[in-house]
Symmetry: C2
Subunit: 373 residues, 2 copies
Amino acid sequence: MTALKFDLLNTDAETGARRGRLHTRRGCIDTPVFMPVGTQATVKALLPEQLKELGACIILGNTYHLFLRPGHEIIERLGGLHRFMNWDRPILTDSGGFQVFSLGDLRRIDEEGVRFQSHLDGSSHLLTPEISMAVQQALGSDIIMCFDECIPYPAERDYVSASTARSSRWALRCKKSLGADATAALFGIVQGGMYPDLRRRSVEELVEIGFDGYAVGGLSVGEEASVMYEAMDYTLPLLPAHQPRYVMGVGTPENLVEGVARGVDMFDCVMPTRNARNGVLFTRFGKVSIKQARYIEDPLPVDPECACYVCRTYSRAYLRHLYQSGEILASVLNTYHNVHYYLDLMEQMRSAISENEFTSFRREFYRRRETGA
Amino acid sequence: MTALKFDLLNTDAETGARRGRLHTRRGCIDTPVFMPVGTQATVKALLPEQLKELGACIILGNTYHLFLRPGHEIIERLGGLHRFMNWDRPILTDSGGFQVFSLGDLRRIDEEGVRFQSHLDGSSHLLTPEISMAVQQALGSDIIMCFDECIPYPAERDYVSASTARSSRWALRCKKSLGADATAALFGIVQGGMYPDLRRRSVEELVEIGFDGYAVGGLSVGEEASVMYEAMDYTLPLLPAHQPRYVMGVGTPENLVEGVARGVDMFDCVMPTRNARNGVLFTRFGKVSIKQARYIEDPLPVDPECACYVCRTYSRAYLRHLYQSGEILASVLNTYHNVHYYLDLMEQMRSAISENEFTSFRREFYRRRETGA
């Protein structure tokens, strides 16, 4: 496939951290990169122009949500997801699998795929590897994800083994279904739960099929951070070094730093946007819950060292007032700040890796959070 | 008082429509003007920068809401409302009277003022002419409104007469309380209900006291449009021609056109912002309820002739999708469009008056709404 080219620019001398550049049909992306989540054809509360201001180079779209509403065929007839939502940079779409498997009693799985009921109106639907590919192509995705099962944690070895084997069979169907002349890239997703040998088998089966990049799925599903880092430790080194590595649904700022240290190139998570709407703001000193009474008359910005529009312009007192008053602008400003925090953190890591200073960056990152200074 | 200077630039040859310019301590305002409402230190869903992009020259702040939350003293200590909300253009504040009188059973009125219970937490408060002035000054308002009673409709003549007389006594107390060296402008508010002689008496009493401008209160309180226009017809000509005239809480696009035709210079209303959040969009062809199924695949902008960012960028299908999905961006984009519609309508009227073409503007305005073409 030639839809994607990945240049590995530098690998940190002391850790596995990688500085790279991903060339897609809609422009290039410096890695490691964080992808804000645009679930329903919008990154919640932000304009596309604001996302660009913030330096977002790629966002994630959710196949499940767009499949149900307004429907991928409607989006396709309207010129695709990029045009629909006014975003001309790359979009990575998930496969819909994660949301469908999260439906619990509302879904039934077999070798063909998953039958499920919509969380919106209870209507019945089928999602298979082939349908997921067709939907993601209809949306106009630049990076398409294989349809797989995201295995919960904890899970019995037998279940994980069977599920992972099926995900591999589905991965092959995805690749065949997309076809050799697809202009979008296709990523395989490593499963295997928290069993190192099953992770290894999953990697081997996927690499044998051959993808433009590889994701590690089944992380950030409720396990301890140490378990997640261990899984990264035994999985990431198995992946082809010259291809991008994506850890799905991760995570906290600490998770990003630890993921990068272990050689992850791509991340996505609803954390910055969802926390923002709940009044939780990220700073280099840790999290700030802006609703606290202590901020009622605080003239300082959320993070006095932050260079974002919100911190240059508004006081904690104002942000608290907006949040307490249930104002829409609270969500807008809080989201703007949090997305800035996440994208700026990635930028700092990219610089640190380029200068072979990732270890000291990582030490300083933790020191500031621990000392609050 | 010298806080405000009003230049009457042109009066339309056929109607009473006036083209003017209001000079305030924070910049000048072309009239007739519409003031977006920023109830709780934010025009709901918009950034101050977006308001400027839209050409808003002045906004309205609500004394009642800011008095209760976060409190005018806190805002004052944080540098005033302008700094608090990052808006450096003029702000007109209402007196709090309208909201307090709307509380029904939660308020008790006497000559001193109004005792009321907060709609937020039931706490007891007193608002008097003197307190209202102090609050508006603490906020840093550029145009302060007298504390008065907004009389409901319909209302008995005796009640209207007594209430209007008290509002006049309160108006005198407002002026005395503000003092001769105030740097903010002060507007009197004409009451008198729908009784022409009581409106006349109100005007005479207020003009006798002397204000920087005059508002017509007690309109848009549930009366038929024809009753409102009649009240404008017998009230506005009584006001000093060389001073600005403001009709409070008005109104629909038709109300604005009819108000301007009768010599109104200033308007405010929550209609563009509130309707936006309910998915109702203004166009030159009339209102569009964007949630309707007919728009599900409509690639056209809300108003193909509208030059605003939203209409240049997004389809009806996308706006419908955002609204149906409960997305914050729906409120942002819909508000942006509606405020543009209102401000653009005022701009069109200012041009028409300058060119002595207001009558043909008004005819065309109605023709397009009626024919939808």
